[in-house]
Amino acid sequence: MDSASTTDTVSNSESINCTYDLQDATSANIHLLLTKPDNERSDASEETGETTSALRVIYPPQVKWVLACPNNGSRRKNAVISQGSGQNSTITRDCRYFPSTKSPSLCSDDNSDKDPIGRNAILCFFLQAQQIPLWVVWGTMYGAFSRRPGDPPEDDEFTRPWCRILQPRDAGGRIPSDIRTLADLRSWATSELAGCFEFVKGRAELEKLWELEPPPSGTWDFQDFDSLLHKSHSGVDYFVVAEIREVEFLGSTMYELEIKVMVSAMYEREIKVITSGDGADKEETRTKGGGIVGRFDAASLLVEK
């Protein structure tokens, strides 16, 4: 790189936006030129082969799964389940509800009147056929990034979830580096708010959990994460709705996990009491945020022969 380019690095940045529709994606045998041809001209209107549908919802999943549901005691009268949480009928027997819990990494939120919600959890469920544990670590992105020009509005960021689907084989049975990276990110974010000491503790516990053995063969089971989530915010009516469905993406069949963060209006009222003195005591549940947070390929859990 010449010096002029180096100067550019300091003084300018480039933003590139790309628009595409994966419905137009095709799989084709192509030639990739090693270098630019002398007489090269581009033409994006070229047809490139048979168009296939890259994205397609196939059918409701038949995968049985169990989500860890720590701190059941904080759920009040199963209100979310009985009321359907305002969700449509697609949330059926394949769904489990569980209260959101305080993540060790965000426990500092306790002192934040801006964002009192703990929105991180670690789930584990096992596919019956393979007996391979699958760890789902999820949360929402609020506070995880500093805002930059071009970032979405804060509301979007607030509801944007993150998720990692982890398997022991990712790193020889130990927590893989990507979750460390993620954890570091959240550590940084937390330190912006109140400090990262609790997070460090959380990661140590996370690593400990990673060493857990899978359940006995032929059984369904789930791990109890009470030890990790001991800081669960009991009595706070934040709930999470999870749904799994089977979809297809770029030729791969996969299972899509959707997490929706629900918040009880009563808890919002409690916030309002602080700010406006509104004393209404009406209980309802509304969606606070969430979305598709992770996807995994159940077939990929098969032991490679």
């Binding site: 933003s15 628009t19 581009s42 071009g150 084989r169 032991v303 490679e304």
Partner: protein, 442 residues
């Protein structure tokens, strides 16, 4: 291969199965090394006064103490005046390190004053690793990975730790180098039996999964080309060609050495890799920005810095059977998912005029129609994301493309499966991440 006798300091030549068990030294070159001509035919006068003699003496004494009659040291066991011998040595070096009974890593710039009766404090490991030049050099990458075990010694030849036996130390190395613990610990050469808690037996080096001998290359082959390249990023070599030659063993390829070809060596290395691998992650790089550079392959391992590209599980890669890459003199033929796209390039001033960052100068950009080349590989963080490169179709040839904007690598994530418009993607290997579109620094 030539081996140095640990007691007589005589060089002896061995071939194939006649090679006796030996130890091997890993170090960084310094002043007054003991070279081939200093020991060939017996120690020459003044050899023992050279600065490099200490590590030769230490190595031989340690090897003898560990029961080895011979040791291999690159300074004096290669006749570098012979280009043929040098070429053979460089092409064989990974295997020589792999076959060694033990490897001593001599950290000449780390001088610790420790009580021999106590282990090195664990808290010192990160400092040791960050302080030593050994972890910044290109050749030491394979010397860290290939051997069955690597024991690290300080300047005064005090044992710091063992890569194989000290897990805390191995984890510190993992953090320092980005090389996964599974590679460093050599627990298993395969993923059969994912929940095996056992490790390879020290004496037999049998994999608890497949019960075969643990082989370094088998372990490495579980990691994508891009991932292995990322380990080499930011490592330095004295000669630019060595940036490539020191990676031959990591990818299991051989090629003739042509000192003088400079960065062309890295292109040749990638071409050799493509001849034996169908791993499309070799395209998952972002070159340093250079106007007019639209080459398909990377200019140096640094282009793979921070790469988190990994293999797709076999069950996900439906193209696997038909995605064979064929290299010709002008192009690479392969099967790839391509998608038409429109790219809008804008430049903006990253230093806002307002303190709250709200007034950012944005200039109107260029709109270009091109294609996304979606690679058959995933990322570590989410196997369902896909790295993608930008391609431009070549006129009058509907199946020929060239790569453009090779300073960016895109990530396609299935954020909106039900609504295919407006899927976001971000650059890999850059420090700037944006939720909508992406930004790169150049």
């Amino acid at each position: 291969m030539r081996l140095l006798h640990t007691k007589s300091f005589a060089l002896e030549v061995f071939f194939g199965n006649n090679t006796p068990p030996y130890a091997i030294l890993s170090h960084t070159w310094g002043q007054e090394e003991v070279l081939f001509e200093h020991v060939n035919g017996g120690l020459k006068p003044g050899t023992t006064q050279r600065l490099g003699w200490a590590k030769v003496r230490y190595s031989c004494a340690q090897a003898a103490s560990d029961g080895y009659g011979y040791v291999w040291i690159d300074t004096c066991c290669i006749d570098k005046s012979s280009s043929a011998e040098l070429s053979e040595a460089i092409n064989s070096m990974f295997k020589w390190y792999q076959d060694a009974g033990i490897c001593y890593a001599y950290l000449e710039d780390v001088d610790i004053n420790i009580d021999l009766s106590t282990p090195t404090p664990r808290s010192a490991f990160p400092w040791l690793l960050s302080a030593s030049r050994w972890f910044t050099r290109g050749w030491t990458l394979q010397e860290l990975i290939a051997p069955q075990d690597v024991r690290f010694y300080s300047r005064s030849w005090m044992l710091i730790a063992s890569r194989q036996d000290d897990e805390v130390f191995a984890r510190a190395i993992e953090k320092r180098t980005g090389i996964p613990l599974s590679v460093l610990k050599r627990d298993s050469c395969c993923y059969v039996g994912q929940h095996l808690r056992g490790t390879a037996h020290r004496s037999t080096q049998k994999c608890p999964g497949c019960h075969k001998a643990v082989n370094s290359l088998d372990i490495l082959n579980h990691h994508s080309i891009a991932e292995r390249m990322s380990w080499a990023a930011s490592r330095q070599t004295t000669r630019i060609e060595d940036q490539s030659y020191c990676l031959l063993g990591l990818f299991g390829v051989h090629m003739p050495l042509l000192y003088g070809e400079e960065s062309r060596a890295f292109i040749r290395l990638q071409e050799e890799i493509i001849k034996i691998s169908d791993d499309q992650s070799i395209f998952a790089f972002a070159n340093q920005y250079e106007h007019g550079d639209d080459t398909l392959l990377a200019r140096s391992p640094d282009a793979f810095d921070k790469s988190c590209v990994t293999f797709l599980p076999k069950s996900q890669n439906r193209q696997e059977e038909s995605s064979t890459m064929i290299l010709t003199s002008k192009y690479i033929q392969t099967k790839m998912t391509i998608c038409p796209c429109t790219v809008r390039t804008s430049s903006w001033d990253p230093e806002p005029s307002d303190s709250d960052g709200s007034n950012v100068k944005m200039s109107t950009g260029v709109v270009q129609s091109c294609y996304l080349g979606i690679l058959s590989c995933g990322t570590k963080s989410d196997l369902l994301t896909r790295p993608a490169i930008l391609l431009s179709a070549v006129k009058n040839n509907e199946k020929t493309f060239r790569r453009i904007n090779n300073h960016v690598l895109l990530t396609i994530r299935p954020l909106s499966l039900k609504d295919t418009t407006g899927i976001d993607f971000e650059p890999l290997g850059t420090s700037s991440m944006y939720s909508h579109g992406f930004s790169v620094n150049h």
